[in-house]
Amino acid sequence: MRKRFIGRRAGLVILLCAMMAFMAACGSSGGSQQQASGGGGAPAPSQSAAPSSSTPSESTGEKKIVLGFSQVGAESGWRTANTKSIQEAAAAAGIDLRFSDAQQKQENQIKAIRSFIQQKVDVIAFSPVVESGWDTVLKEAKDAGIPVILTDRAIDSPDTSLYVSFLGSDFVEEGRRAGRWVVEQFKDHDGDVNIVELQGTVGSAPAIDRKAGFEEIISADPKFKIIASQSGDFTRAKGLEVMQAILKAHKDIDVLYAHNDDMALGAIQAIEAAGLKPGQDILIVSVDGIRDAFVAASEGKINFIVECNPLLGPQLMDLVKKVVAGEPVPKRIVTEERTFTIEEAIAELPNRQY
């Protein structure tokens, strides 16, 4: 019995050691720039930021603007590009960035914002994980006189005085752009245009808005028919699986509208397996504009890409400077986004960073 007890304890010690080693590994790879994230949800910024940045009270010479930024997490390639853009733009603009990763948890984000308030940063910016539940913490920021900027995602609060500006994509407009291209392509077409839609994760804002925007445009002409609309969860594997089944259930498909590039890439594979030519037999429109989609477009397999730009760092830094200088800023700023046809995609491909 005693031997077993010791064995068990030894096992636990080994387990603990392994966990520590793992966490250390996480920390070292995450702390690339200013500081590491608040890993276990601890509001770490104050301590870990100290060595790399001068706190406002001790600053000598020219006073740097201090920006506290709370990111959603690192859940997708899009998000990683977004983080990188913000970090690089801050360095280029000479802004002291205090970066915190919320790991997709609202409570981590609230903690991070509170710690930014305690540090008396000049501006707080964050991409809200979810839409609601921000009133209390944003009220605290307002009382402390710290302006708040929302990036990428909006909050759902009747009190718009809680933030100075919202910088991000307009998902509905992205859907409209996709819709307008489809309408334009088939303007001389008689008879029905059969459209298959691959939706994003059910209930997510981009899925709801991109669907709404697209439908708003195509509903003007009854010849446009969405014959199948199914969720592919924003992933390649699901896009492939769903498209395989849809292709067998519907023989005559003219257009595929995918809410993101990954699903379109999966669907392309399914279309090829069905013996059809993606981009010719079925026209493909997708949203986001990741590098792999540009590669597919350059091969003629995606006909139209609506960009959803993660590189909003420079725009954010301009906005931060204006806010600190006391200049008036618009309540809603839409990120600069483009659309790409096949020819434009080929020209753009070498410049794609993400």
């Binding site: 077993r4 064995g7 068990r8 096992g11 636990l12 080994i14 387990l15 793992f22 590994a25 996480c26 790879s29 690192a74 859940e75 997708s76 390639g77 998000r79 990683t80 939706q199 059910v202 199948a228 609309s229 199914q230 969720s231 969860d233 924003f234 992933t235 390649r236 594997a237 699901k238 492939l240 699986e241 769903v242 395989q244 089944a245 849809i246 067998k248 259930a249 990954d262 890439l265 999966g266 594979q269 397996a273 069905a274 013996g275 792999d292």
Partner: protein, 348 residues
């Protein structure tokens, strides 16, 4: 007739047939299989094709559950294996180099087997409950996969690697052969050697088995190792199929589907007796259901509800108690004395 009805695979087969008949009535084309570019093409082939990674995971899961364990980490192991394989290939100068592809696959499989062993170690040596022990890897595993891919989706361009998940051999997808091979291997190992008996006995009563001279620790370690290996293989098939590794989404919720397949197949979560063929039927039921939902155009918002309702119906139908109550309420006459089959579940 009575013997067929008493067979442990009777109800799963009936459910599968019912699903297929529903599809036949809904769309007679459902069963059409064409030959296209030297391969078979049709919904039934799709079911086998998309079902094969799940079948692999579920086969491993069956053995673990038979030892009265459970492995929640399989989904994460799928992601890690996919990440390792794609990362290794993406670092190569020539992504299509057969040597490199082989190295990547071996590395991924070795890592997955090791992770399985780690689970087994926590369960047998450290004595943590299986559900908690494997939960550790389930949570950290996605993080590890993300670390390997640095949060990005790694895309590889390697026709040789793509063969595993999207290639065709003798009209059928390669992945189907892989799943069939592993199934045959597992069936052979557990039914033609004493290993199957050992697993069942450990699942029934680990202490008694140990006292009877069975190395229960080794048996359980093997089960977790094999489960990890199977999950790794599934990860390679999944990533090869779409030529990319997605640390976030690869194999997401696979553990739940795998456990469901095992349970539909008639293996009890209490350990002991297990049915590999039943598990395979469970996988086919789940995959047929998924394909049915997509091809009949159930709105995405209610997909999961439909799936849940069917699963609930399947589970209820399989429960002898429920069937008896149902029969009793339908035919208000009380049926004659029911013989309760002697189910060997010796509890320690």
């Amino acid at each position: 007739m009575e013997r067929i009805r008493k067979h442990h695979l009777f109800w799963p087969v009936l459910v599968l047939v019912a699903l297929l008949v529903f599809n036949l009535l809904y769309d007679p084309d459902f069963f059409r299989i064409q030959v296209r570019d030297g391969k078979l093409y049709g919904n039934l082939i799709d079911i086998l094709f998309f079902g094969s990674p799940l079948a692999l995971v579920a086969i491993g899961m069956t053995l673990v559950i038979a030892t009265r364990g459970i492995d929640l980490s399989v989904g994460s192991v799928v992601a890690i294996s996919a990440a390792i394989a794609c990362f290794t290939i993406s670092k190569g100068a020539d992504q299509n180099d057969p040597g490199l592809v082989a190295t990547a696959i071996l590395l991924a499989l070795a890592a997955s087997a090791l992770l399985g062993l780690w689970n087994g170690f926590l369960v047998t040596r450290v004595g943590i409950q299986p559900i908690v022990a494997t939960l550790i890897l389930m949570v950290t595993g996605r993080g590890i996969a993300q670390l390997i891919t640095s949060g990005q989706i790694i895309t590889v361009i390697s026709p040789n690697y793509k063969v595993i998940g999207a290639g065709t051999l003798l009209w059928l997808p390669v992945s189907v052969y892989i799943a069939a091979l592993v199934f045959a291997l597992a069936a052979l190992l557990t039914r033609k050697t004493a290993l199957g008996l050992f697993i069942e006995s450990v699942g029934c009563n680990p202490t008694a088995s140990r006292l009877a001279g069975i190395r229960s620790v080794t048996v359980r370690l093997f089960a977790y190792l094999f489960c990890g290996f199977c999950a790794g293989l599934a990860g390679i098939i999944l990533s090869s199929n779409v030529s990319s590794a997605d640390g976030n989404n690869a194999g997401l919720w696979y553990e739940l589907d795998a456990i469901l397949a095992v349970v539909i197949g008639g293996t009890s979560l209490n350990g002991g007796r297990f049915f590999l063929t039943g598990t395979l039927l469970g996988v086919l039921i789940i995959q047929t259901l998924t394909t049915t939902i997509y091809s009949t155009g159930v709105p995405p918002e209610v997909n999961l509800v439909v799936k849940a309702l069917v699963v609930l119906a399947v589970c209820l139908i399989q429960s002898e108690g429920f069937r008896r109550t149902l029969a009793r309420s339908l035919v208000s006459v009380r049926p004659s004395h029911q013989r309760v089959e002697g189910k060997v579940t010796t509890r320690g």
